[in-house]
Every structure is written in structure tokens, then in C-alpha cells.
């Protein structure tokens, strides 16, 4: 028996938008994220990434899209714990066959964008605090200059204060660099940092609207 995790979900995310996808656990938001992130393909229906139809692509073609166009930020950071910060950020470039000389330059640039102080760059990633680790993860997501940053509960493992620092980073990347960001969360407070919230419940989109009182963390702006 098949159970549909998502049905009738149809929406569009524009270039340069900062969107939050919100819903309780079991609502289908994880499935939605996997499809948006090209980690999975829908059993039926369509998904266009830019002008490219993704639904029928092979594993290798999906991997290419993830490599070139998507940057992931996970709740559990998923850093290589014994490697240095710099090496963690370089990792996507290794798979993208970027020349060695260019890798470090790009990595340092995105570490600056993620506001990670330079003194930590040669630290091993398991020596950092949670907030710092999440910034490394953001830097890693930025390093291949993706069209889309997909953040799955990025503040889930963090306390409110460090969580805010991470959200501030996203807001700044959105404002200053015009990044397209999709934030998946179950907390309304976190979602309200985005421009637009898509509510998912029981596999259906129940609401899709702009945030009226958007929370801005403005100490950097």
C-alpha cells in the first residue's frame, strides 16, 4: 500500500526569495525538502529547478544539480569532525573538480560571508561550539555559489541566542548577496525571519503567504 506524503502541493519559489516551509512533524515537509533539494524524486508530478525538469533525472544527474546549484545546511551540521574548518568548506569543490589553487580562495571567501572569524579556520571542526559549527556548514553551503540554499532545521540544535546569530547570517546573505534561501522548520518563531511562509499539514499546503510582521535581526544591517 502506498501512502502519499504529499498531494496537490503546487507552488513556486522565485529567485532571491527567503521562504520558510513550516509544519509539524509528519506533515510531509521533510519529503518536500528532499524533493526541493534533489535528494529524491517525486513518484508522480513535476518539479522544475530553473527551467530543468528534475522529476525523471538519474541519480548522477541529481548529484550534479546538488553539486552545482544547491547548498545544504543540516540540523546536525554534518561536518567531518576530524578535518579542519577549511577542509570541510573545500569538500564540495573537490567533487566539483575545481582547480586546487582556486579552492582555498573560494572557501575563504564563503567563510567570511558566513561570518566565521579567521582564527577558527585551521581548527578541527569538532573543537568548535554549535553556533560556530553551523556557520561552517553555512560556509560549506555557500562555497559552490549555489542558486539555492536549503536549510533543514538549522537552529534545531542551538539555543535561542546562537540560533538568532545563524538566522541573522541567513538574513544578511539574503539581503546583501540576494541568495535564494528555503528554511524548513516547525517553529513559528524561526519561520517568521523569512519573507514568506508555506504551511504544510498532512501532505497539503494549507497556507502560503507573506510574513506580515517579519522579525529582523538588524545589528549588522
Amino acid at each position: 500500500m502506498e501512502t502519499a506524503a504529499l498531494k496537490g502541493a503546487s507552488f513556486k519559489i522565485n529567485d532571491g526569495e527567503f521562504v520558510a516551509i513550516m509544519g509539524p512533524s509528519g506533515s510531509g515537509k521533510s519529503t518536500l525538502m528532499h524533493i526541493i533539494g534533489c535528494l529524491d524524486t517525486p513518484t508522480s508530478g513535476e518539479y522544475f529547478f530553473g527551467d530543468q525538469s528534475v522529476a525523471k533525472l538519474s541519480d548522477d544527474e541529481l548529484a550534479d544539480i546538488r553539486m552545482q546549484k544547491i547548498g545544504f545546511v543540516f540540523q546536525a551540521y554534518n561536518l567531518l569532525s576530524r578535518a579542519t574548518v577549511l577542509r570541510n568548506v573545500i569538500l564540495p569543490l573537490v567533487y566539483a573538480d575545481i582547480p586546487k589553487e582556486q579552492r582555498e580562495k573560494q572557501a575563504k571567501e564563503s567563510l567570511r560571508s558566513a561570518a566565521l572569524p579567521e582564527e577558527f579556520w585551521q581548527h578541527r571542526s569538532n573543537q568548535l561550539s554549535g553556533g560556530m559549527m553551523q556557520r561552517v556548514a553555512i560556509a560549506r553551503a555557500l562555497v559552490n555559489n549555489p542558486a539555492l540554499i536549503l536549510a533543514d532545521e538549522p537552529t534545531g540544535n542551538l539555543d535561542t541566542k546562537t540560533g538568532e546569530m545563524v538566522l541573522e547570517t541567513f538574513q544578511r546573505l539574503h539581503m546583501e548577496q540576494g541568495r535564494t534561501i528555503v528554511l524548513i522548520t516547525h517553529e513559528p518563531y524561526v519561520a517568521e525571519h523569512a519573507q514568506r511562509i508555506i504551511h504544510v499539514r498532512d501532505g497539503n499546503i494549507v497556507d502560503d503567504s507573506q510574513v506580515k510582521n517579519r522579525r529582523m535581526i538588524s545589528n549588522h544591517i
Binding site: 541519480d59 546538488r66 552545482q68 573537490v94
Partner: protein, 407 residues
């Protein structure tokens, strides 16, 4: 993914778990090391056996009497006990077989020998002056039997160094000393140089006397027990052997070569037989050592499977940032090949050290051939691929979503 990136990833992965990588490598080290050591011991034994066979003479053909085989009844007396070869056969070979460089008939038997109250039982070889050149024997002191000794039936003896040690003691000059062979007095006129080798078939524990004296005083007949012939060169050995066979068949009036009353062996046959025996031994030793190599390979597979499970989330992450199936396969395959390759390098060094040690302390000759080293590297790389393939495929086949969620 470029090769140097792959190697760097491998280096990080293996050095992250040094103890485990080291222990896994140890399995391969022991496997490869024991294969190398065993093969080197086997090849060393082969070399020394061949050398000792070569030392009994150069291009040597041995003719020994054998009971004549008659159709129907198969009665075969022990080799050497039949009496079918005569002195005249040797003379005829010398005269008619052009490819025979030298011919040395002998009449040898074991006798009790006494000297000054000591006694020993050893091989007494009655022979001719050509014997030393045919059988690679060199004279250390005094002289060998001369033609004059043969003609005059001189009761003189040339003794081997081991016999000297038994009868007179080490470092005693035996020249001029009397010895009694089967209660008949002989005078020692020379001693041969040591050829090495101990125990059965030692060429140092021997007494040479003139053939004529051996036939007259000891055996009491005109037969010979062996005729040694040295061919002019290695290539003519088969032809020489054929000529001798034809000549002897004619002289003995035997029409059917299958019913010959003598046997002919040449040195190459003996070397080949010995080689095939030592080859089999080497194979056996290598096969036993090879079992430990397989066990080492299973160790590699075990470690790689553990690694894949442990690093499931890392694999998920790598996939989410764009690693393809073949990237993951390559990464884990290179890791296991690297483990076995390192094991191979250290194993060759260990095997070399063991074989040097065996030569040094046990006095057994060993020889490491380039072939066995290359084979060891090939086998260790192959083990890495074979035993690393399944874990690597398993890693590559992981679903990125499930891998990322793995706790």
C-alpha cells in the same frame, strides 16, 4: 574527483583510525611476509640442491647395471647389485663414443676400514685416474691414483676429508699412513678437498683405490658398479647418452632397447627431478602461507564494512554535496587497496628480513626473486580490490536521505 584528491581523502580516513588501520594492515603484512619468506626458503633449497647435483660432475652421464628385463617375468634386483657392466664396456665407450670427453669406471662397495685402532665403515671406490676430472674432485694433499698404480695393482688409497677425520683426527696429515681395508693393508697417498654436504651421499666420506686393486683384492671379479662419462658439452648430452646406449646394447647383444640390462641417467634428469620435487614443496609452503593472506583479506573486508557503517552520515553528506556513486565506490576501494598495498610493502620487507634471518641463524639458503615480490604486490592489490569491492558498493548504494538520518 582527481587522483590526488582521492589519495588525500584516503590518507585522512586511514590516519583518523591509526590503530585499527595498523592492525588490519598487520594481517596482510603477515600474509605477504610469510608467502615471501616461504617461497624464498623453497627457492633457496632448490638452488642449493641443484648446486650440489652440479657439484658431482659437469655434463655427467651415469651408467649403472640393471637386471635384464625379460618379457613375462619381472624380476628386478636392486640397483647396483646386478653385474652386467665390465671394464671392457668402459674401454669401448672411451674408444668409440666420440662425444665422451672422459670415462671413469668404478667398482665401489662399503667396507670396514681400520687405522691405528680406529675404524669406520665407508664407501670404497675402485677407479681410474680420469675419475677426478669426471666427478669434479680436487686433490688437497698428495696425489690421486696414477696409471702406474692401476697397472701394478698398487695398494694405495686416496681418502676423503671426512674419512681422515674419522680415522686420524682433524688436521692430521694422513699421507703415508697405513690403513686396512677389509683386512688388506693400503697406504694413503692423497686426500681430496672437501666438497661440503653431509649425511647420505656425502662426497667427503669416501676412499679411492685403484680399480684393478679393488677388483683383484676386494671384489674378486672384473665387474664395475658405475661408469661415469662426461660429455664434451651440455648440448651433446642427449646425443652422448644415445650413442652409449646403442653401443652397450650392441655389445650386450640386446635387440630390444626396453630390455636393456643397464640404466643410463644424466645429470639434467636428476636436476629436473630434484627441481620438480622442490617446486612442489615451494608451492605447498606458499599455499599454506596463502591461507593467512586470505584471512588478512577478510580482516580488510571486516574493517571496511565497519568503516562504512560508522561513516554512514559522512557518506550521506558527501552524496548531498554532489558525490556520485562512483566517487564513493572509488573512495572506499582506494582505501582498502591502500591498506593492502601498505601491507604488501611492509610484508615484502618482513619476508625479506625473515629469509635473511633464516640464512643467518639456521644456515638454510634462501633466495628472494623479483618475481615473488611482484607477485606479492599483485596479490595484495588484488585482495584490496576483491575484499574492498563489496563494502565500497554498499557505501555507494546508500540512499542519501537515509544515510543523513542514520544515528
Amino acid at each position: 574527483m582527481k587522483i590526488q584528491d582521492l589519495l588525500q581523502e584516503t590518507y585522512f580516513a586511514l590516519s583518523a583510525n591509526k590503530a585499527r588501520s595498523g592492525l588490519t594492515i598487520l594481517g596482510i603484512v603477515i600474509g605477504i611476509g610469510s608467502v615471501i619468506a616461504m617461497v624464498s626458503i623453497g627457492q633457496g633449497a632448490q638452488g642449493s640442491i641443484q648446486a650440489s647435483i652440479q657439484s658431482i660432475g659437469s655434463n655427467l652421464i651415469l651408467i649403472m647395471p640393471g637386471a635384464q628385463r625379460t618379457a613375462g617375468v619381472q624380476v628386478s634386483a636392486g640397483r647396483g647389485s646386478a653385474q652386467t657392466l665390465m671394464q671392457a664396456d668402459a674401454d669401448a665407450i672411451q674408444k668409440e663414443v666420440t662425444l665422451a670427453k672422459a670415462v671413469a669406471p668404478e667398482n665401489s662397495r662399503r667396507y670396514q676400514i681400520t687405522a691405528k685402532g680406529k675404524n669406520t665403515n665407508t664407501q670404497v671406490v675402485g677407479t681410474v685416474p680420469a675419475y677426478p676430472s669426471v666427478r669434479n674432485i680436487q686433490i688437497d694433499m698428495g696425489s690421486f691414483i696414477s696409471d702406474q698404480n692401476i697397472k701394478s695393482l698398487s695398494k694405495v688409497a686416496v681418502i676423503g676429508p671426512a674419512t681422515r677425520d674419522d680415522l686420524f683426527g682433524v688436521d692430521v696429515n694422513p699421507i703415508g699412513q697405513p690403513i686396512r681395508i677389509n683386512k688388506i693393508d693400503f697406504k694413503v697417498i692423497g686426500m681430496t678437498k672437501s666438497k661440503g654436504g653431509t649425511g647420505f651421499g656425502s662426497q667427503d666420506d669416501v676412499v679411492f683405490i685403484p680399480l684393478s686393486a679393488a677388483q683383484r683384492f676386494l671384489a674378486g671379479d672384473a665387474y664395475v658398479t658405475t661408469i661415469s662419462v662426461s660429455a664434451v658439452d651440455q648440448n651433446s648430452m642427449a646425443a652422448t647418452q644415445q650413442q652409449i646406449t646403442n653401443l652397450l646394447l650392441r655389445r650386450h647383444n640386446i635387440l630390444n632397447p626396453l630390455m636393456a640390462d643397464f640404466q643410463i641417467m644424466n645429470q639434467q634428469d636428476i636436476v629436473q627431478t630434484a627441481s620438480s620435487i622442490t617446486n612442489t614443496m615451494t608451492m605447498l609452503l606458499a599455499a599454506i602461507a596463502g591461507i593467512s593472506l586470505i584471512v588478512g583479506g577478510i580482516g580488510i573486508m571486516n574493517m571496511m564494512l565497519t568503516t562504512v557503517t560508522e561513516r554512514t552520515r559522512e557518506i550521506g553528506l558527501r552524496k548531498s554535496i554532489g558525490a556520485k556513486k562512483r566517487d564513493i565506490t572509488k573512495q572506499f576501494l582506494v582505501e582498502s587497496v591502500m591498506l593492502t598495498f601498505l601491507g604488501g610493502v611492509i610484508g615484502v620487507a618482513l619476508g625479506w628480513a625473515v629469509s635473511v634471518g633464516v640464512t643467518q641463524f639456521a644456515g638454510i639458503a634462501t633466495s628472494i626473486s623479483l618475481q615473488s615480490v611482484l607477485l606479492a604486490f599483485g596479490v595484495s592489490a588484488a585482495i584490496g580490490i576483491v575484499f574492498g569491492y563489496y563494502p565500497a558498493r554498499r557505501a555507494a548504494g546508500l540512499n542519501p536521505i537515509e544515510a543523513l538520518r542514520y544515528e
